[in-house]
């Protein structure tokens, strides 16, 4: 490095010369030095976000290819390509060009399938990544805003997916749009106006594919890229979280540096993700629009479902009992549509705001850089399990008909069971998860204090048998004892001697969160425990 600024003509390798050339013109060295020495903690669950990112890159690359051949027009043509069972059928140019991509453009079907599989993987990886963040408490200060950005990305990804699979103008996606149209029209007073605005007239009209195309390839990708960039900048600014361990403090980040080790791993991992997607795309059919045929408002196929990430909304609609729509004040009030929309909206807002809610309940304004083990935050983990159960119940309901046929059940039985899962399941899941977490914490305490069962049975001179407990090593013990507990907030009058409703609420929430808790083993307990010699 020190030679870089001297202009003496020394023998330099090409790489060094090129680096110097670039640096003299961009001053990039400082940036590379700073960023390249960032440590990135090594744990498999920290790579889930990367799976999402790399899947998104695959989506971008394959999507660019598709835009060369896709025509977002709803003009009517008679299909004249290679697929026999659609020859001569009247369809939109969008559908015909998608069929051409599938059957008449070299590699088109492969890239189309790769695009779609990568999109499914993108949203799935986001989902798993979010669960990791939630259950390890990695959303706590200073990362609350990044949680919000990530959540916005999740919603943008769903929007990308929905606008994307609606583009071919096939029967399945047309039915999806018909449901969206119905949901929009379900809004009182403004619904019909909004529907006509979106579709440019009466559904389905001739505008929607072009409009969705603009959203799908211009607006939404730009937003996703912008938010991904912001998301990653925040990761660099905050440093990565890490799990508790010897030498790992809130002030450091222990792991291999980005350059060269981590960058090599991540770069290689991109090609692995690309390869897995290519393998799936070449072996497994996805969205066979040639089966679905062109959109026509009259037919609906059995087994019509949206892509998995919209499933929860479809399931919510399916679970509403009949008769929730009535006429009042000369208007139709579609509570069969409004209730699921409101329920899903509340769910999304609660999940989005959770970091702020938890921080408020705890009254905790400190920064947290050590990720929690889920058992050490029993109430949060239980709330997460309840949320997952709620979502999973809605999700499963989207496939109620397939559950019925594939498990020889009645459709009504499946629906009623899933209604119970969605309404009662979260409470059951909450209770069970909280108890399991507390039981695991008790077990951890037991292990720290008395060691783990070695399976070695010793007969004492007096004839008594005991099992020898082996003490933990210090590294393992560190992992088990280094976590924080909170106690319920005391209800105290404020400076004017009053107890406000907000404080009562907060104290109540705090009691709910932290009434049942297991404290980590203290140093004193540990020393006392060692004296006992079990």
């Amino acid at each position: 490095m020190s030679t870089a600024t001297t202009n003496a003509p020394q023998k330099r390798s090409f790489t060094a010369a090129a680096s110097v050339y670039v640096n003299e013109r961009t001053s990039i060295a400082g940036f590379v030095k700073e960023l390249g020495r960032k440590a990135f903690p090594d744990h498999w669950s920290f790579l889930l976000g990367e799976v999402a990112l790399f899947a998104f890159v695959v989506v971008l690359i394959s999507g660019t290819f598709l835009t060369f051949f896709f025509q977002a027009s709803m003009a009517e043509v008679h299909y004249n390509g290679s697929y026999v069972p659609l020859k001569g059928v009247e369809m939109s140019v969008a559908m015909a060009s998608t069929l051409d991509i599938s059957f008449d453009i070299r590699g088109g079907l492969f890239v189309r399938q790769m695009h779609h599989w990568a999109a499914l993987l993108f949203v799935a990886a986001i989902g798993l990544h979010m669960l990791r963040i939630f259950f390890t408490g990695a959303f706590r200060k200073p990362r609350e805003l990044n949680w919000v950005i990530g959540f916005v990305l999740f919603i943008l990804a769903m929007a990308e997916g929905f606008t994307g699979y609606s583009l071919p103008d096939d029967l399945l996606s047309g039915n999806g749009l018909a449901i969206i149209n119905g949901m929009i029209k379900g809004f009182p007073l403004v619904g019909t106006w909004m529907s006509f605005l979106l579709f440019g007239g009466e559904f389905p009209g001739t505008d929607i594919v072009g409009r969705l195309y603009t959203l799908h390839i211009l607006l939404l990708p730009a937003l996703v890229v912008a938010f991904v960039a912001l998301h990653l900048v925040f990761v660099v600014v905050h440093k990565h979280t890490q799990y508790a361990g010897p030498g790992k403090t809130p002030g450091n980040a222990v792991g291999p540096p980005i350059l060269p080790v981590y960058a090599a791993k991540a770069g290689g991992f991109f090609f692995i993700v690309f390869g897995v997607l290519a393998l799936i795309a070449s072996l497994f059919t996805i969205n066979p629009i040639w089966n679905y045929g062109p959109y026509d408002p009259s037919p609906v196929s059995a087994g019509t479902q949206p892509d998995w990430y919209i499933g929860f909304a479809d399931g919510a609609l399916r679970l509403i009992p009949p008769g929730w729509e009535f006429v009042w004040l000369d208007r139709t009030w579609s509570f069969n549509i409004l209730v699921p929309i409101i329920a899903i909206g509340v769910f999304i807002v609660l999940a989005l705001m959770y970091p702020f809610i938890e921080a408020w309940v705890k009254g905790d304004k400190r920064e947290h850089h050590i990720a929690d083990r889920p058992r050490n935050a029993p109430t949060r983990t239980a709330i997460g399990a309840a949320g997952v159960t709620f979502y999973a119940g809605l999700w499963a309901a989207a496939s109620s008909d397939l559950l019925a046929t594939h498990f020889s059940l009645t459709m009504e039985g499946v629906i009623h069971a899933l209604q119970a899962v969605v309404i009662l399941g979260p409470f059951v899941a909450y209770f069970i998860t909280k108890r399991v977490c507390i039981a695991l914490q008790k077990k951890d305490r037991e292990i720290v204090l008395h060691g783990f069962e070695s399976g070695r049975i010793v007969k004492l001179p007096g004839g008594e048998f005991i099992e020898v407990h082996e003490p933990l090593d210090e590294y393992e013990r560190w992992r088990l004892v280094s976590f924080e507990t909170y106690e319920p907030l005391m209800l105290r009058p404020n400076s004017r001697g009053k107890i406000t409703f907000g404080q009562r609420l907060r104290a109540g929430m705090s009691r709910w969160f932290f009434e049942d808790r297991i404290a980590p083993v203290t140093k004193g307990e540990l020393e006392a425990g060692h004296g006992e010699h079990h």
Binding site: L48, L128, N287, P299
Partner: protein, 279 residues
């Protein structure tokens, strides 16, 4: 052995898929009768198709001998529920006027004799030989006029697949799924998958409306349109998906499960491998 082989060959030509399984266990003495009957069925079927829109069971082709054999089989196997004269009982409906097509479908696909009462008759291994099925069919057809077994040219898949696909989407897909993968109905009933059904049985199902299926008579969907629908279904049966494995052709649910379990599952396994500490 020679007559047996010849017989099976003649049947293979008609409908290869279902017949081959049942070649074993066939009995000799009826061979000539069956040959005769089959020849007559073709003639009669073709005649019926050409002469009138609704095929009549009263085709002159059915010899009294076939009908008598069918009656014996009927009384031994079906009369418990349908009555000795097929007049119906509390356990089963009257079969007078259902026609040969209904019997050929129900018995020929193994739905009858019914295994048990339930939301709908389940398919099970076929209980009779082809001759016996035909004998039963013509016995029932002799009781009253009804749809006949369709002629070969309507069921061999030689029509217009594109027209058939469009008709299938409009008339059939809401229960049977666009790719014929089947679908759910209410109260445990279901529309079965059409991925392994012969053309004859598809045609018979359309004209007789078995189980919960509506009848699509010739005024509703013409015989030529029915032929086109069968052509489309045969195309789907014979041509696997150009995109690779179909995952059951049941759409996004299978795709979502696949990407979560196998796509994301394999990548999570790889993340564990990448971050594993070397020992």
């Amino acid at each position: 052995m020679i007559p047996k082989r010849r017989r099976s060959m003649s049947e293979n030509r008609k409908s290869p898929m279902n017949r081959q399984k049942r070649r074993t266990g066939r009995r000799h003495p009826l061979a000539t009768v069956a040959l005769l009957a089959l020849g007559l069925v073709f003639t009669g079927g073709a005649y019926a198709a050409f002469s009138t829109g609704t095929a009549q069971a009263e085709s002159s082709a059915n010899s009294q001998q076939t009908i008598d054999e069918g009656k014996k089989l009927f009384q031994a196997n079906c009369a418990t529920c349908h009555g000795l004269e097929a007049q119906g009982t509390t356990e089963g409906p009257s079969l007078i006027g259902v026609g040969a097509a209904a019997v050929d479908f129900q018995v020929g696909t193994g739905r009858m004799p019914m295994q048990m009462q339930g939301p709908q008759a389940q398919q099970k291994p076929v209980q009779f030989t082809d001759e016996q099925v035909k004998q039963l069919a013509y016995y029932v057809a002799s009781l009253g006029p009804g749809p006949d077994i369709p002629a070969d040219h309507l069921t061999n898949g030689g029509g217009d697949a594109a027209n058939g696909a469009e008709l299938f989407r409009i008339n059939c897909a809401m229960c049977h799924n666009v790719a014929g993968a089947g679908g759910a109905l209410t109260e445990g009933k279901f529309a079965p998958p059409l991925t392994d059904v012969s053309g004859v049985h598809i045609y018979e199902a359309m004209v007789t409306g078995p189980q919960n299926m509506p009848v699509f008579n010739d005024m509703n969907i013409s015989p030529e349109d029915k032929r086109d629908i069968i052509t489309y279904l045969k195309y789907v049966q014979d041509n696997r998906s150009p995109g690779g494995f179909e995952l059951g052709s049941i759409g996004p649910v299978a795709e979502g499960l696949f990407i979560w379990i196998f796509g994301l599952g394999s990548l999570v396994a790889i993340t564990v491998w990448i971050t594993a500490k070397s020992n």
